[in-house]
């Protein structure tokens, strides 16, 4: 029961801490696009793919005290830190749920900045388009982020690398 919740608890256990709601959103989206078993529904929003379902699920786990959320004031905005609580860990153990081999990949994604993950998830969102069309989408829909061609190249390389790691992790 509550298997989708357990998956998120397992992600927090694997990563230790996720800083920022945006990062959490993009991390799960990227993992989903890598064919890991996450089923939260995503739509395109201001900062790329965003899942209201995931947002609410995290809120539920904060209310259940399975997840600790720390709100920090930054210059002009609030930032949220997420960690697995002891109660959450206990629930995870009782549920007996185990994620596929994701630890290294999740940590690699988590080590990147939210801004970069926003770009990576946007590239993944439009992956059916040609590279040129993706660039056009990034420059028009994400004009305020001032991404460069080099950033987009880095995003493509990052995705390719993640995909290679995913294949070797499941073999």
């Amino acid at each position: 029961m509550l298997q989708e919740h357990c998956k998120l608890l397992a992600v927090l256990k694997e990563t230790g801490e996720i800083v920022g709601r945006k990062k959490l959103q993009k991390l799960i989206y990227i993992a989903k696009k890598l064919e890991f078993p996450f089923f939260e529904k995503y739509q395109f929003h201001m900062f790329g793919p965003y899942s209201e379902e995931l947002n609410l699920r995290v809120e539920e786990m904060c209310h259940l005290m399975f997840v600790e959320e720390v709100k920090e004031k930054k210059a002009g905005y609030y930032q949220y830190r997420y960690t697995l609580s002891q109660k959450g860990d206990e629930f995870l153990q009782l549920s007996d749920y185990e994620l596929p081999k994701t630890k290294e990949i999740l940590n690699e994604i988590n080590s990147k900045s939210s801004k970069f993950l926003e770009l990576v998830s946007t590239v993944l969102y439009f992956e059916d388009l040609t590279r040129k069309e993706v660039e056009e989408k990034v420059f028009t829909l994400k004009a305020k982020q001032n991404y460069t061609i080099e950033d987009i190249t880095e995003a493509y390389e990052f995705i390719e690398n993640l995909r290679k790691q995913t294949i070797s992790a499941v073999m």
């Binding site: 509550l2 529904k41 395109f44 539920e60 206990e90 009782l94 028009t140």
Partner: protein
């Protein structure tokens, strides 16, 4: 390429209980309404299983789509001569409003959960694929279908256009709140839409609302809040959704086990095998699904037939409120006891969470992802709604999550078999309620 469409010689109208009349003057819109993919929406209810709770809720995605189109038509009429709105986008706005839900399947919410499909992806396929809708849209220009698909996917370059159909206060939400309130018969879903449209002003990225119209917007937020708790989140509807999902899971499981169905479920085959085509998808509607549920009542598999009988005869599961953080330790025992009495807990003991539902509350700007509602102050500044309105502030950021545990109470109260185990299950379930 020049458009092959102009204006109709004579305006067409649809009588509508929510907006009184829906006016169609554009040939393009009239042609789109006549396509088979749009007509299919007549056979898909707007609120899925809610009709089992509120018997009036039989309205369809067809009614709603026309309603969203009508609201958009009025918005565009109001905005057409204002700064920031590009009149060239008028037909993009109207077509997107009309087609925004065209990819919805039967009992969409449960279907998407079970089969991991996405109605937005299907909307895109219907608009861009080999369909009557695509053919009509291409009559405007070759790139017109893509523009409409991009607006619906929220990836269109003109963010104002996207926001009119998808934001915290948009044509879609305004129609479904009014329409769902009307058809369910509840009295609290109403708000003054005419007033909201009058105070709506286009800006670069979204529409904002004149401060003088704040109370009409407050009413809309209250309506959304109350409909959420009273209609969308109704525990009986959730029970029906639980059973519906379990039927689909069971049928899929049986198919994968090469079970021999009495009546071959040909409409489901590509869905079960994960290879559904556009042609198969548009053949699915609620009449088809209910036909199978009717047939499956006679199946030899006891789980499938029981769940279908429950759905068709409205013998739904009961529920207890549940706090997983407190009661998690009794779940293994409950699961074991359900196994003992011969009821697979994967189908007969189901937890349903608020995050499983497709509706949400208004949230102020803290999300970083969704633009909040902005008020246009008399001095030209923009202020987020909850900072100006005590009413909205009071209902923003409140606890809005819950979990319910569903089970077949009728089975547990029948003490002809396994009386001790059933008594113990009922005791454990009752102890779930804090």
């Amino acid at each position: 390429m020049t458009s092959r469409y102009g204006m109709l010689e004579e305006e067409k109208v649809f009588k509508d209980p929510v907006h009184r009349y829906i006016h169609v003057r554009d040939e393009l819109i009239w042609e789109l309404i006549g396509t088979k993919e749009f007509q299919r929406l007549r056979r898909i209810r707007q609120l899925g299983t809610t009709f089992l709770t509120f018997h009036g809720a039989e309205h369809t995605r067809f009614n709603h789509s026309l309603g969203v189109y009508e609201i958009m038509r009025r918005i565009v009429e109001n905005m057409e001569k204002r700064e920031h709105f590009d009149p060239e986008e008028r037909l993009v706005c109207l077509s997107s409003a009309l087609l925004h839900d065209v990819g919805h399947g039967p009992f969409s919410h449960s279907f998407e959960k079970v089969f991991h499909t996405d109605h937005e992806r299907w909307s895109r396929e219907i608009i861009l694929g080999d369909t009557e809708i695509n053919s009509v849209l291409r009559g405007m220009s070759d790139d017109f279908p893509k523009k409409v698909a991009d607006v619906i996917a929220k990836t269109y370059q003109n963010k104002l256009v996207v926001s009119l159909i998808s934001s915290q206060i948009d044509a879609d939400r305004m129609d479904y709140l009014l329409r769902d309130a009307f058809y369910t018969g509840v009295s609290y879903g109403n708000f003054d839409m005419e007033r909201i449209l009058r105070v709506m002003r286009p800006k670069e990225d979204q529409a904002v609302f004149k401060h003088s119209g704040m109370h009409a917007v407050e009413d809309y937020i209250m309506s959304r809040y109350q409909m959420y708790w009273q209609v969308y989140f109704h525990p009986v509807t959730r029970s029906a959704e639980v059973i519906l999902s379990k039927i689909l899971h069971r049928a899929k499981h049986l198919f994968e086990q090469n079970y021999s169905f009495m009546d071959k479920p040909k409409h489901f085959e590509s869905l079960f095998s994960g290879k559904i085509t556009l042609e198969d998808y548009v053949k699915l509607d609620e009449s088809v699904i209910l036909y199978y549920f009717q047939e499956w009542q006679e199946e030899k598999d006891p789980i499938l037939s029981d769940l279908c009988q429950r759905f068709m005869d409205r013998r739904l599961f009961k529920y207890v409120e549940c706090d997983p953080s407190v009661q998690m330790k009794v779940w293994p025992e409950l699961i074991q006891l359900f196994g003992k009495i011969g009821f697979d807990p994967n189908y007969y003991l189901v937890i349903d969470s608020s995050s499983d539902l497709p509706y949400d509350f208004y949230r102020p700007g803290e999300e970083e992802e969704r633009l909040p509602i902005h008020l246009l102050m008399p001095n030209g500044d923009l202020r987020e709604l909850s900072r100006e309105s005590d009413v909205v502030e009071a209902i923003s950021g409140k606890k809005r999550t819950d979990h319910k545990l569903y089970f077949p109470q009728d089975v547990l109260e029948d003490d002809k078999t396994f009386p001790i185990e059933k008594k113990q299950i009922l005791k454990l379930l009752t102890s779930q309620e804090g």
